[in-house]
């Protein structure tokens, strides 16, 4: 069974290209805002989440904080997915499980996602 990836990004092009890259290997769920992040995650039960930082309305940082504050949902690995140069730093600060910088290298992109899923399963 394909692993499930939930991608938060308000840019449709990004969501489309991600589907193009990952759709072959994973089941892709997308969201253009993170207003219902808790229910989204609860319902969709993803194996990994990619979270844009500048995303309506509460923003990625807050959304991750909410997830990480929940005893159950905190277990789902979250990778920050941003064009922000300080992504790495922000990732460490808010205890995300990793980061993917835009623009990304295809190979590295796929590897990081798989690694996050693998680590979560082990």
């Amino acid at each position: 069974m394909k692993k499930r990836i939930l991608i938060y990004d308000d840019d449709h092009e990004i969501l489309e290209v991600c589907k193009a890259i990952l759709g072959k290997y994973y089941h892709i769920e997308t969201q253009v805002n993170c207003d219902n992040v808790m229910s989204d995650v609860s319902e969709l039960n993803p194996d990994v989440i990619l979270m844009d930082l500048w995303i309506p309305k509460i923003g990625g940082e807050k959304a991750i904080a909410l997830l990480k504050g929940d005893s159950e949902l905190r277990k789902v690995p979250v990778l920050i997915f941003s064009a922000n140069d300080d992504t790495e730093k922000i990732s460490q600060r808010i205890n995300a499980d990793g980061y993917l910088k835009k623009p990304f290298d295809l190979v590295e992109f796929k590897n990081k996602i798989q690694t996050a899923i693998d680590l979560n399963l082990s």
Binding site: E13, A20, N84, E88, K89, K102, P103, D105, L106
Partner: protein
């Protein structure tokens, strides 16, 4: 009474002392003789025969030898100590030869009670006289006790000897003259002083060539005698200058004295001379110094006065002092009687304080109201002055010295200047304040009051403090204090609250020390320029850049991802199309980097460029950069040397960015290719990396500006890609790491960029 007659000899003869002639005693009876002998005030005894048996001894004799009952006893047994005495021998001699002896001041010692001997001096006469035959030979011993005289004489001799010693050995020149002025006696010290032995035949009164009186007039030698008659000269001496026979001059003190019995004509004169040339020299120097001091004192632009005693009575006053206080004849007057107006101006306390404590007082630009005339209104006078205690020889305070300058003109002129300055400050449309050297605010301009809404009283108490934004205020005050301690200028942006709308507006605050010629801080001038609008615009610009960068990168992400997807999907198809894809990806990456650079500049501007310090393998990072570099050029040969043993602590991404930037520059600015050498080394826990190319080089003029923002190499007739901000960002990254970067270059030959960063302890992390 034949026997008795026999006893004293039948021939009436007795030898005169010193002669051999016999003299004849008158014939008289024994009792009569006995009486006479007993009464003569002399020591007398008669001994008979070779054993010297006592026949007669008067009381003086008995008292002398301290024994009675002598008659019939042998002299040698009565006076056993005499046996060892030369007198016994002498007596034997007289007896045997009939030669009388006549000895003066014979010293004899006689035992006395208590075991001590008494020394007695005797004038002794011994002579023989005969009775009826030779057997009746007797010796007549006659003596005077001259002990007292001898003792007195000895004392005199002793005294004379002592005096002679004193005279000859005295270190002071002494000589005597007779009434005609001829020199009789002199000592060695005189010879030394005069440089020659006195000519006893020709020298008169003083053995020198010429003599001068203190006023320089020559002394006629015949007038010398008057010295002896002048009592004050006798007592205190007279100062003379003498010219010696060797031509040198000496200053001497002469102490002349007559030698005479009371009220009698002098028998001679004694002169004592003391060489005071050294003293005179010292005194002359002192006089010269005194003269200088006097002229200083009189001509000095400074005012000087001395006050005596607890009532501060004027003792010395120089003209400058008189001109300030406008009075003459101050001497002898009490300070506060002359200047009663000063009594209320704490001056009285001050003088008394110095007088009682001995602690000097120094004041600068002290304001006084002094009346130049007792009837005149007091005038504003500024004085710089000191009050010092004067100590007497017993180290007690006996008076005061006031020394100072009238600085009224100076102060008034400066005050006028200050007033003008204040007018300028008042009209300035920026907050300005002046504080004392210690940092106490003493002046705020109108704009300050207007902006802050504070009253003068409020400003004096709280000033800047009350309008500063609480955010970061503590740090600012700390930094401000540090600068004040170091007397250095301070500049910083901070927010100040505008009273009008309660808004904290950004200002650039500048704190500058105002120093005097001795580099001492007199005041601090603080000014604040409102940069809020500018700051707001900058913030907007930065915000825009940040958003723009983000927004530009987002489509770029899609483009790159699609290109990579195409590249992957075409793996087995057309290699030409695959190459196009790869080139498109390189361009997309460059576009991404340009966007990042723009954002970096904005962050640096905002001081918002943060480091993310981790430990990483520098060698590995460097190799990757070099690999990428080699991949991007075919014209350059990139070589590297050096190796770092341990991982270093730094922001991996940012350091990589710097190395990338330097290597890309080396490639970019050597368009004709050539070698690029990278050298890696460590210096005391610091990492040094240099990258050298053989490119176009940088002129020395441009080299200074190479790290400036938007600097671009110009004048080569070439255009190079880029925004001109790469080195600016690199330098900032290196600085944030606590390191440094520099460049050396020869135009047309090539350039070397080098940076040095600490390998460990990057706790400085963020700024």
């Amino acid at each position: 009474m034949k026997d008795k007659r026999l006893l004293f000899g039948s021939e009436n003869e007795f030898h005169e002392s010193g002669t051999n002639e016999r003299f004849h005693l008158p014939v008289m009876n024994q009792e009569m003789l006995y009486n006479i002998f007993s009464k003569v005030p002399a020591i007398l005894c008669i001994v008979r025969g070779p054993d010297f048996i006592y026949e007669f001894a008067n009381d003086h004799y008995k008292n002398l030898i301290g024994k009675g009952n002598l008659i019939g006893k042998k002299l040698g047994e009565v006076l056993p100590e005499m046996k060892k005495n030369w007198l016994m021998e002498g007596l034997q001699g007289v007896y045997n030869t009939n030669e009388p002896i006549n000895e003066k001041q014979v010293k004899l010692s006689f035992p006395r009670e208590g075991g001590e001997d008494e020394i007695i001096y005797l004038d002794i006469n011994c002579q023989v006289y005969y009775g009826e035959n030779e057997i009746d030979k007797r010796v007549f011993i006659f003596a005077y006790n001259v002990t007292e005289q001898v003792k007195a004489g000895k004392l005199k001799a002793f005294t004379e000897k002592k005096f002679r010693n004193l005279f000859y050995n005295s270190p002071t020149a002494v000589y005597t003259c007779n009434v005609q002025g001829k020199i009789i006696l002199y000592n060695e010290a005189l010879v030394e002083l005069c440089g020659r032995v006195p000519d006893l035949e020709n020298d008169l009164w003083c053995p020198v060539k010429n003599i001068f009186l203190p006023d320089g007039t020559p002394l006629k030698i015949k007038n010398w005698k008057h010295f002896y008659e002048n009592k004050s000269v006798n007592r205190e001496g007279v100062e003379l200058t003498v010219e010696l026979f060797n031509g040198t001059q000496r200053a001497i003190m002469l102490y002349p004295e007559s030698i005479s019995e009371e009220n009698e004509e002098p028998e001679g004169y004694i002169n004592t001379m003391v060489d005071i040339s050294g003293q005179v020299h010292a005194r002359k120097e002192l006089e010269a110094v005194t003269k200088v001091i006097e002229s200083l004192y009189l001509d000095a632009p400074a005012f000087i006065c001395t006050l005596r005693g607890p009532d501060h009575i004027y003792e010395l006053v120089n003209p400058a002092y008189q001109s300030i206080f406008g009075r003459i004849h101050l001497n002898g007057q009490k300070f506060f009687e002359v200047s009663p107006e000063l009594k209320d101006q704490s001056f009285f306390k001050l003088l008394n304080h110095v007088y009682t404590t001995g602690k000097p007082f120094v004041a600068t630009e002290q304001l006084f109201n002094i009346s130049k005339d007792i009837n005149q209104a007091p005038q504003v006078t500024y004085l710089n002055f000191s009050v010092q205690p004067i100590h007497d020889s017993g180290n007690k305070i006996s008076g005061l010295v006031i020394f100072g300058y009238d600085v009224t003109e100076l102060v008034l002129t400066r005050q006028k200047g200050e007033e003008n300055l204040k007018k300028i400050l008042e009209s300035l449309p920026q907050i300005t304040s002046i504080s004392s050297a210690e940092g106490k605010d003493i002046y705020f301009n109108n704009f300050f009051y207007e902006y802050s809404g504070l009253t003068k009283e409020e400003a004096t108490v709280n000033g800047w403090n009350s309008i500063m934004c609480p955010d970061g205020k503590e740090d600012l005050i700390k930094e401000w204090e540090e600068c004040k301690k170091k007397d250095i200028e301070y500049k910083r942006e901070l927010r100040l609250k505008r009273n009008q709308d309660g808004m904290y507006r950004w200002h650039i605050v500048n704190l500058t020390p105002v120093k005097n010629h001795r580099n001492e801080v007199l005041n601090w001038v603080a000014s604040a320029i409102d940069i809020h609008e500018q700051k707001w615009k900058d913030e907007k610009k930065d915000e825009f850049l940040s958003i723009a960068s983000h927004e530009l990168k987002t489509p770029l992400t899609s483009v790159k991802a699609y290109l990579q997807l195409i590249e992957l999907s075409m793996e087995k198809v057309d290699p030409e199309i695959k190459l196009y894809c790869q080139r498109a990806i390189v361009s997309v990456d460059r576009l991404g980097n340009l966007i990042s650079e723009l954002l970096d500049v904005s962050k640096i501007q905002q001081q918002n460029l943060n480091l993310n310090i981790t430990a990483f393998d520098f060698n590995e990072m460097l190799n990757r950069v070099i690999e990428n570099g080699r991949f991007s050029t075919t014209q350059h040969e990139i070589t590297a040397s050096g190796f770092i043993e341990k991982k270093i602590e730094a922001d991996r991404e940012r350091i990589e960015q710097v190395v990338n930037n330097l290597l890309n520059n080396a490639i970019k600015y050597s368009p004709d290719g050539g070698g690029i050498s990278i050298k890696l080394s460590t210096i005391n826990d610091k990492l040094q990396l240099s990258i050298s190319d053989h490119g176009i080089g940088i002129s020395s003029y441009d080299l200074e500006k190479v790290f400036d923002r938007y600097f671009r190499a110009a004048g080569h007739g070439l255009h190079f890609q880029g925004l001109g901000i790469g080195l600016f960002i690199s330098m900032e990254i290196i600085r944030l790491h606590g390191g440094d970067m520099w460049a050396s270059s020869t135009l047309g030959k090539g350039t070397t960029f080098t940076f040095l960063i600490p390998m460990y302890n990057h706790i400085l992390n963020n700024r």
